[in-house]
């Protein structure tokens, strides 16, 4: 009998054109968040499941942000694997700055498929759907249970997406392990992540006519001074757990981080980072602004708690009596990680090595994903996906072959995880 892995790889090769079209169609369906309206994106994925004859449920606590849930049981004892991906993507910015036919073009040029969300993470979400469908076809050769979750509201914190599923359908979605196709690059598997600490600062002053600088302090000038003062946060030194510190000291890991996430990533994984995602102050050129809003996206590494960062922000704000601060990220999230040598991690490494010749190394990464919901529940969660280089930019794209490799690695790793005891695939 042909091994299941060979069958899966052959099936993916046979359906190559169909899979590319599937991703392209998904990219052509706008799902920007904000505003977060993802119904068309969900409908697109539902149509795929229906074509494959697969049952699913729509769970939509917010009607315009639906989540999809599908599951099958092999009727043989085994572990419960959960596939997770998100439907929503970053907002597109200004259409005219896109160089490849606009944010929702799905244009393919020189083997790359362009559009907002191609990398983050329509490539990975499609990989989860294809994996689910393929494994369902071959469920007679598997053990345990496979669940597919596709969520909305990931880009803005997950309250109505994975967070909602964990609060209301925990038994169905927690499982024993999670596999997620967020961008990781072919060189790494992600076993942990920094946590975002999102703060909104509001500066209030009296305001006045712009020529009358003696009449009022300027909310904009205070905001830009605050911006500079907040840079102090990036000097905080983390207290890392030993397993993570060992992993981060490994030169192979550091090289993989720099190769995969860009020069400097290995250093940044261990540091507090500060992004001023938005600044908005003033009504008019010639008015002294009475209000300015800063939105800061601070990322805490493993070893820096939210409590510590809060104390530091409070210290900085002592010099800014005009400023109030509001924390809008989830107050109990912390930087999170699971075993850098876990079972699924090894299966992903083997699958990736077979497919691409690269054995990805385990890394902690910079961006938050819904994988944290599993890790914070004590369930290991691993991420393997395409390169994140261009995500969020006006040239966001995924290589077509890169996409197909992500599909292959997910299908092989998931099948291996659900292999009946004593059998390989």
């Amino acid at each position: 009998m042909t091994p299941l892995a060979d069958i899966l790889l052959a099936a993916i090769n046979d359906r190559r054109a169909e899979l590319i079209t599937l991703l392209q169609g998904f990219v052509r369906t706008p799902t920007a968040n904000p505003p977060g309206e993802t119904r068309r994106g969900a409908a697109y994925l539902e149509a795929f499941l229906r074509r494959c004859g697969l049952a699913y449920r729509v769970i939509a606590p917010m009607p315009d942000m639906p989540n999809l849930l599908a599951t099958f049981d092999t009727q043989r004892p085994g572990p419960h694997l959960v596939l997770n991906g998100h439907i929503d993507v970053f907002p597109p910015g200004r259409d005219e700055r896109w160089r490849h036919g606009g944010p929702w073009s799905g244009t393919i040029e020189n083997g790359r498929l362009y559009g907002r969300g191609t990398a983050d993470m329509k490539c990975g979400t499609i990989a989860s759907f294809v994996t689910y469908a393929l494994l369902h076809e071959h469920r007679d050769q598997l053990a345990g249970r496979l669940t597919l979750t596709a969520v909305s509201d990931e880009e803005t914190g997950g309250k109505w997406g994975t967070g909602y599923l964990f609060e209301n359908h925990r038994d169905e979605v927690a499982g024993d392990c999670c596999l997620n196709g967020e961008p990781s690059s072919a060189h790494t598997v992600r076993y942990g992540e920094k946590t975002p600490h999102w703060l909104i600062f509001r500066v209030k002053t009296r305001g006045a006519h712009g020529a009358y600088v003696h009449m009022s302090a300027s909310a904009n000038k205070i905001a830009t001074r605050l911006m500079a003062a907040l840079e102090d946060l990036t000097d905080i030194r983390p207290e890392m757990p030993q397993a993570v510190a060992r992993n981060l000291a490994d030169p192979a890991v550091r090289k993989a981080l720099d190769d995969g996430l860009g020069e400097g990533a290995a250093g940044l994984v261990q540091k507090v980072s500060l992004n001023i995602g938005m600044i908005d102050g003033g009504l008019k050129t010639n008015m002294i602004p009475s209000e300015c809003k800063l939105e800061a996206d601070i990322r805490l590494p493993v070893g820096v708690t939210k409590q510590r960062i809060r104390a530091e922000v409070t210290r900085i704000l002592k010099d800014f009596p005009e400023v109030s601060v509001e924390e809008i990220s989830h107050p109990h999230d912390e930087a999170n990680w699971c075993d850098p040598e876990g079972h699924m991690l090894q299966l992903i490494q083997e699958a990736a090595h077979r497919v691409s010749g690269v054995r990805p190394v385990p890394v902690i990464t910079l961006a938050a994903t819904d994988a944290r919901f599993w890790r914070q529940s004590g369930v290991p969660a691993y991420i393997y996906g395409c390169s994140p280089d261009l995500m969020g930019t006006y040239d966001e794209a995924v290589g077509v072959d890169e996409f197909l490799n992500v599909v292959r690695v997910h299908a092989l790793a998931a099948a291996a995880f659900l292999a009946p005891e004593g059998k390989g695939i």
Partner: protein, 419 residues
Amino acid sequence: MSPVEQDLLARLEAARERSIGFLRDLLRVPSPNPPGDTRAAATFLQRALQEAGLNSEIFSPHPEMPNIVARFDGAHPGRHLVLNGHIDVFPVAEHEWTRAPWGGEIVDGRIYGRGACDMKCGLASITLAFMHLHAVRDRLKGRLTYTAVSDEETFGPWGARWMFENRRDLMMGDCLLSGEPSSPLCVRFGEKSPIWIAIVVRTRGGHGAYTHMSKSATKIAGAIVAALEKVTEVPVRAPDNLVAMFRDPDIAAQVDEGCGAGHAGYISKPTLNIGRVMGGLKMNVLPNECRIEADIRLPIGMTRNDMRPIIAEILSRFPEATWEELSPPHDAPSWSDPDGEMMQILQDTVVGLGRRRPVPVITLGATDTRLWRYNAVPAYVYGASPETMAAADENVLVEDYLHILRTHVLAAARYLGSA
């Protein structure tokens, strides 16, 4: 006081409540700029003129920004005085107000509303002054022109600038009196000149967690805001008589009393306001674009060509930034004779009305009066306290408004002279 002036004062006393009602009604017609649509307020003014038997002409080079001109001749030949005000007002951040911004409410002797000081108080005053003087025109000499324009708050092209470019004949006279805010303690005879620049910072951008991947447009903008402060340190060579005037501690003290503590000190210095900063799409996206709008004010003694290379030098340190000027490229600080005839008339009139002699002042802001000065017409400003200008809960004291109206009426009558 001449008999005509006495009659005018009596008319004003009799019309006291109507005068107050007129300003309140004007404040109830919103005319914020941006967006700058002043049609409703212009209609209000034109109707008031019509009811007083005055024909006016509308010029609307921009369909939403009408300009009104009206004029009459006295019974005898004489000099030509022009009154000027603008109809548009600053925009409103409604949530900051504790009074209705378009309500014209009176509380504790103050009339509240956007434009109460800048400059619907002055606009109502010159409108009513024009009507009262019209009523006694058979005893006056010379000619009086009324101009109420739009598009002043943004120095847009569709107001007084358009009129000067296209109907200069209607705008010109021998002297200009404006009701812009000055404080009743001061008469403005000159003004600084704004340079408005827009700076756009562009970077590659990316994901907010990947701060190593791209420079941040917002952080660069923050650094630019700090670096721009240098423009306030540029040395200025002002004319000696002006320097001496504002070094006089009595004048400086009265200027600060009328226009806010610190005003006198800024008359001869460049200032920097960062009116707007807008950047980024979303908290967790590394911003690829940020826009800054800066409002720099040049004092008398400094030209745009003095300042431009300094701005250019500062911004050249930020290769991700491009910039452009938003303000009219040829404007300059402007001033009329601080001892001119209208200055003395205004000062004497105010003293005659029982108030403290106003001191001459250069305003920090800019007004359309500059256009008359550029055309060699002396221009003077007497109006409300600028204290709440552009701020929430903008207001004017009822008594100040009535005092300004009396001053405008009497000063205009004196300038024209009676037969």
